[in-house]
C-alpha cells in the first residue's frame, strides 16, 4: 500500500513541510472517503478530526429552524476543514456534507496536538499554516457579512 506521506506533502496546507515533520504527521493521519450526502461532521459533535480535502466537494452548512440548512461555504480539493482546539472540549459548529464523492486525509486532533506539544518545531510549522488559514477565513467571512453585492 502507498504510504500516506506523499499525499500529505501534496496538499497545499502542508506545502513546504520537511520530510521528518510529514513522517510524524503521518502517524496521526488516515484516509477517509465520503459518499455524496454523507456528513464529514455535525455541529455539536466533538471535533476530533482535521480534514485535508483531496478530492470532491463539501458544503459547510448552518441549520436554521426557519430556513433549514443554509450553505455558507463550499470546499473543494486543496481546502481544509476543522479546528485545532488547544483548550478542551472542542466541538464542530457547522455541519459539513459531501456533495460528491469526497476523499480526505483525516488528521486526529488529539494525536496532532500531542505531537505539537512534544515537538515545538513541528508545532510552530503547523501553527503558522493554521494562523494563515484562520486569517483568510476571517477576511472572507467579513466580506460575506458585508452583503457585498447589495450596493
Amino acid at each position: 500500500m502507498e504510504t500516506i506521506e506523499p499525499v500529505l506533502a501534496g496538499h497545499p496546507f502542508l506545502q513546504g513541510l520537511e520530510a521528518r515533520h510529514l513522517e510524524e504527521l503521518a502517524q496521526c493521519a488516515s484516509r477517509a472517503n465520503f459518499e455524496a450526502g454523507q456528513f464529514l461532521c455535525r455541529a455539536e459533535e466533538e471535533a476530533r478530526q482535521f480534514y485535508l480535502i483531496n478530492h470532491g466537494r463539501v458544503a459547510v452548512e448552518i441549520f436554521s429552524a426557519r430556513r433549514g440548512p443554509v450553505t455558507i461555504q463550499a470546499l473543494t480539493a486543496g481546502d481544509v476543514l476543522g479546528w485545532l482546539g488547544f483548550l478542551k472540549p472542542y466541538h464542530w459548529h457547522f455541519d459539513a456534507r459531501a456533495l460528491d464523492l469526497t476523499r480526505v486525509i483525516s488528521l486526529d486532533v488529539p494525536c496532532l496536538l500531542g505531537r505539537c506539544e512534544a515537538n515545538h518545531e513541528l508545532g510552530y510549522e503547523l501553527l503558522k499554516r493554521y494562523a494563515h488559514y484562520l486569517a483568510v477565513q476571517f477576511r472572507v467571512t467579513k466580506l460575506q457579512l458585508m452583503d457585498l453585492y447589495g450596493t
Binding site: P69, I72, A74, V140, Y149
Partner: protein, 272 residues
C-alpha cells in the same frame, strides 16, 4: 441632449428587483444602436427623469438595444415597470469601453459582482465571438444568493462550453445549490491564466472591486493589466454637469472603465 424614443420589445425578470429590457425603434424597426462593450446610455422615463444604465446586450447585434436595470430609485423603478410596447427615451452611448479590442492573444479574466455582470456581458459576447483570438477566458461571478444571479440560463449555456470557464459563487445558498459558496476573491486562485499576458476586467460594488484588485495584484498581475468600471451619480452623461467627478476624473467621459494604474492613487481614497 435630446433622448431618442425606443420601444420596449421584451421584458425579462432576472431577479426580485432586476429586469432586462430589449428595445427597438418605434414601428418595430431595428434599434440600430452601435456601441462598444462597457458603454452606457442615459435612459429617460417620461416625466420622471434620467438614469445612467450600462448596455448589457450584444455589440454585434445593434438591432436590439438591451439594458438590465435594478429597481433602486424613482427613475429606475419607472423603467423597470415599463411593459412591452411602451416607450422610453435613450441617449448615448457614452463612456470608455472595456479594452477587449486590445486584448487579443491574452488570457482574459472577468470578475463580476452582483449587477456588475450586466456591463460585462457585452464583453463576454465579444470575446466568445472572437474566441480564437484569445487565450483562456475565465468568468468569475459572485452574487448574494442563487436567486440574485443574473442571466442564469445563459450562465448555464456558457458553463457548457469547453472553451470558456465559468465560476459562479454565492454568499449563502439553500442546499439545492450545487455551486460554489464563498467570496469571489477565493475563486481567482482557481482561474487559469498566465499573469504576464492576462487582461482582467472587474465590475461590481466598491468593496468587492477593492478586494478583487488586491487579489489579482497578489496573483502577479500588473496594475496596467487590470480594468475596473466605476459608478457615480450622473446627470448629463457628457462631462458637463460635474456630478460624476471623482478626483480629477469625470466617470461619464473618462470612464466608466478605467485602467487601474491610472486611478490607483484615487481608488482607495474615501468620500472623493
Amino acid at each position: 441632449m435630446i433622448p431618442s424614443p425606443l420601444v420596449v420589445q421584451k421584458v425579462r425578470r432576472e431577479t426580485a428587483d432586476t429586469y432586462t429590457l430589449d428595445l427597438t425603434r418605434p414601428g418595430g424597426g431595428a434599434a440600430d444602436f452601435a456601441f462598444a462593450p462597457g458603454q452606457f446610455n442615459m435612459l429617460y422615463a417620461f416625466g420622471v427623469g434620467e438614469v445612467p444604465i450600462s448596455i448589457s446586450g450584444d455589440p454585434a447585434r445593434p438591432e436590439i438595444l438591451t439594458h438590465t436595470v435594478r429597481d433602486v430609485g424613482r427613475v429606475s423603478r419607472a423603467v423597470c415597470r415599463l411593459k412591452k410596447g411602451e416607450v422610453l427615451g435613450v441617449r448615448g452611448p457614452y463612456g470608455a469601453p472595456w479594452p477587449v479590442a486590445e486584448a487579443p492573444g491574452n488570457d482574459v479574466i472577468i470578475v463580476a459582482g452582483g449587477l456588475g455582470l450586466a456591463p460585462l456581458r457585452p464583453a463576454v459576447y465579444h470575446l466568445l465571438r472572437e474566441r480564437p483570438a484569445y487565450g483562456n477566458i475565465e468568468l468569475i461571478y459572485g452574487a448574494r444568493t442563487p436567486e440574485d444571479l443574473l442571466y442564469r440560463q445563459e450562465l448555464e449555456r456558457w458553463r457548457g462550453r469547453f472553451d470558456f470557464r465559468v465560476h459562479v459563487t454565492v454568499d449563502s445558498a439553500a442546499t439545492d445549490w450545487r455551486g460554489n459558496v464563498g467570496v469571489v476573491t477565493k475563486l481567482i486562485g482557481r482561474a487559469r491564466f498566465d499573469p504576464p499576458s492576462t487582461t482582467a476586467l472587474v465590475c461590481g460594488p466598491g468593496v468587492m472591486m477593492r478586494f478583487t484588485v488586491l487579489e489579482l495584484l497578489g496573483h502577479g498581475l500588473q496594475p496596467e493589466q487590470i480594468f475596473v468600471s466605476m459608478e457615480r451619480n450622473m446627470k448629463c452623461g457628457i462631462g458637463l454637469c460635474g456630478h460624476c467627478q471623482w478626483g480629477p476624473f469625470f466617470i461619464c467621459k473618462d470612464g466608466p472603465v478605467f485602467r487601474f494604474d491610472r486611478i490607483k492613487d484615487w481608488f482607495d481614497r474615501r468620500e472623493v
